[in-house]
């Protein structure tokens, strides 16, 4: 049995050509993000000297606020914010414990590499993930220098009444990360971690650095602060002092 090779090649070629040309025909811009204040630039300042070694109030508050289920397997636990212990290799400085979260970089490599623009940057500088658009390619996880992203490995089985309805439940197969609690910011509130920390040690300060009158702007102007891996030129928006 033989097939008409010309027909088969023609059809195959046409399908392939279609697949190649189609993308160019469908350039649809992402919908304009709602609720973002283009004049604002949200940032955080963390005073490491106030952060307790074994305090995890911020991480706990974050998990509750953002519907993050706690699973047994640490390597697959979703972490928006995590506590890191750092040890000075020369032994001159004492060990320190500090929270690390998405830095909402001004030049975010995660957004650069995302093929579907599921990772995007809002006009107010928040870097967010659209869970409906993420195809789960995980390229952003490879590209983020702060390891701020997690893949959802399992379906979230938390009981409905324990869920925060303001925050979307992420289904398995997508990537998620800290949003600076965008739903709270849009209501004029502070991120959940900041609120929780305030009750204990007040190590976290959150606000608009574009507003010279904000507490964070004044503080940043008066203290010595640094960001993590500033050598990469990403302009992170989480600043640390007393580090």
């Amino acid at each position: 049995m033989t097939m008409d090779r010309r027909t088969v090649l023609g059809v195959g070629g046409a399908i392939a050509a279609g697949a190649m040309v189609a993308p160019g025909l469908r350039l649809i811009a992402a919908p304009a993000p709602k609720g973002a204040d283009a004049g604002a630039r949200w940032a955080m300042l963390i005073d490491v000297s106030k952060c307790g070694d074994d305090c995890t109030d911020c991480t706990t508050a974050c998990a509750t606020e953002n519907n993050i289920p706690q699973i047994e397997d640490e390597s697959r636990q979703i972490q928006y914010i995590r506590k890191i212990t750092i040890k000075d290799k020369t032994g001159k400085k004492p060990d320190q414990s500090l929270p690390v979260l998405c830095n909402h970089c001004e030049n975010p490599p995660c957004v650069d590499v995302c093929p579907t623009t599921a990772s995007f940057i809002r006009p107010d500088g928040l870097v967010l993930v659209d869970k409906h658009r993420c195809i789960g390619c995980r390229y952003c996880m490879i590209a983020c220098p702060y390891k701020a992203r997690s893949l959802v490995y399992h379906e979230n089985t938390t009981a409905a009444e324990q869920l925060n309805r303001e925050v979307p439940i992420r289904a398995k197969g997508v990537v998620e990360k800290c949003s600076f609690c965008v739903h709270r910011i849009d209501k004029g509130e502070q991120p959940a971690c900041v609120e929780a920390c305030d009750k204990k040690s007040g190590a976290m300060l959150f606000g608009d650095i574009n507003d010279p009158e904000s507490e964070i702007s004044k503080k940043l102007a008066s203290v010595n602060s640094r960001t993590i891996r500033d050598d990469l030129g990403l302009k992170p928006h989480v600043h640390y002092t007393n580090l």
């Binding site: 097939m3 090779r5 010309r6 088969v8 090649l9 023609g10 195959g12 070629g13 392939a16 050509a17 697949a19 190649m20 189609a22 993308p23 469908r26 649809i28 992402a30 640490e74 390597s75 697959r76 636990q77 972490q79 995590r82 506590k83 890191i84 212990t85 750092i86 040890k87 000075d88 290799k89 690390v100 650069d112 590499v113 995302c114 093929p115 579907t116 623009t117 599921a118 658009r133 195809i135 789960g136 390619c137 995980r138 390229y139 996880m141 490879i142 590209a143 983020c144 220098p145 702060y146 390891k147 992203r149 893949l151 490995y153 379906e155 398995k172 197969g173 990537v175 993590i228 891996r229």
Partner: protein, 397 residues
């Protein structure tokens, strides 16, 4: 000089057994895909540190090999190496087969494969992935065009063949750049990553062509002039030296830069170093170099086959080592400090591939195999007799 192109008979028991086995394997791959889709990536061995596991190793190896498989055709069309003109169709077709197999695994391993079309709707032209979507589909189109020209319209062969050649160089650069452009990962970030991928694609692509040609001609009891395989042996030898050279240059350059000491030490002595020394250096480079330049083994078709298999193992090891060593490297957002956390900061990432990943990957290999096996039956891809001119004597060790 070229005897008539014919399709193979493909009605022996052996042919059907091979066909059935490949179909079964592809079927298992598809079922595994549904299994992962329903249960989530929790059934794989991946975690939040190693997010690209075995399926990516399969996929990227197939894609890299696909681009290299076109080399035989390019030799004839672009470099006027006319003895290989008779294998142009085979070479272009094999490229498509391998590419489809690789892409299938890549797409089916997405967290949300059903949304694949989104990449076409919401494009981000800054993303290397978006570029690769174009490069892969574009390459398939070029190969089809080339095949069509070879079969029906010789006039366009030079044009389509040259375009496909350029396409493959760009394609592999794109694949290598997925890693090369990542600033945040010391292991990946390098301008030489892409050229090394190209060299590796040339070795593995030539190796798979040689293997399949010898195998196909033997099984169908057709004649293949040994000189043709010797010519391919010489190409393989040359390309292997090229990989060797590029890897040596990279190591040499990096050994001059103290900022790379730590990561280079990790690559050469870390938990995945066995892939480097065993898979890449010993099996992938030294073995083929030794066999192919050996006086008797290098002139023995079976010896060349062994070297070709070693080159392919070397390629897969190269991809696996790049991916796994790159991702398991202890992540440290605070250079100069020792870090630890419950999120594996500062610790070596662990990864043990799980069965579904293996089955999904093998499914892709099976699909590539199926396309080839069906292709040689339904299309006239190969000449009945593989002939080389009397006057041509390829260099012999």
């Amino acid at each position: 000089m070229i005897s008539k192109f014919t399709s193979i008979q493909g009605n022996s028991r052996e042919y059907y057994t091979l066909l059935m086995s490949l179909m079964a394997l592809a079927g298992i791959g598809i079922l595994t895909f549904f299994y992962i889709e329903v249960n989530g990536h929790g059934v794989t061995g991946m975690n939040n540190k190693v997010v690209w596991g075995l399926p990516h190793i399969f996929a990227i190896s197939l894609l890299v090999m696909a681009s290299g498989a076109l080399n035989l055709a390019s030799m004839a069309t672009v470099f006027a190496h006319n003895h290989f003109k008779q294998f142009r169709r085979f070479s272009a077709f094999l490229s498509i087969a391998l590419l489809v197999g690789g892409l299938m695994v890549l797409v089916l391993d997405l967290g949300r494969p059903e949304r694949m079309l989104l990449t076409m709707v919401h494009m981000n032209f800054k993303s290397m992935f978006t570029w690769n979507v174009f490069l892969y589909s574009g390459f398939v189109v070029l190969c089809f065009f080339y095949l069509w020209a070879m079969m029906s319209n010789e006039k366009f062969v030079k044009l389509s063949g040259s375009a496909a050649f350029a396409g493959r160089v760009i394609l592999t650069t794109g694949t290598g750049s997925i890693f090369g452009v990542i600033h945040a990962r010391e292991v990946f970030h390098s301008a030489i990553t892409a050229p090394t991928f190209i060299a590796v694609s040339l070795t593995s692509g030539t190796a798979i062509c040689a293997l399949l040609l010898v195998y196909t001609y033997r099984k169908t009891k057709r004649q293949l002039d040994d000189k043709l395989i010797f010519g391919m042996r010489n190409m393989l030898l040359f390309f292997t030296l090229m990989v060797f050279y590029l890897m040596a240059v990279e190591k040499f350059t990096k050994s001059y830069s103290p900022s790379f000491y730590e990561v280079e030490t990790w690559l050469l002595t870390g938990p995945w170093a066995w892939l480097y020394w065993g898979g890449i250096v010993i099996i992938g480079l030294l073995t083929p170099l030794y066999i192919l330049s050996h006086k008797t083994w290098g002139s023995d078709i079976n010896g060349i086959m062994v070297a070709a298999i070693a080159a392919i193992i070397g390629e897969v090891s190269f991809v696996a080592h790049t991916l796994l060593a790159g991702q398991t490297y202890p992540f440290n957002p605070f250079p100069g400090y020792e870090v630890s956390s419950s999120f594996q900061d500062g610790s070596v990432g662990n990864y043990v591939p799980a069965m579904p990943e293996l089955l999904l990957g093998l499914g892709g290999v099976a699909v590539a195999g199926l396309i080839y096996v069906l292709g040689i039956k339904f299309f006239r891809l190969l000449p009945k007799k593989g002939e080389a001119p009397e006057s041509w004597t390829p260099w012999n060790p």
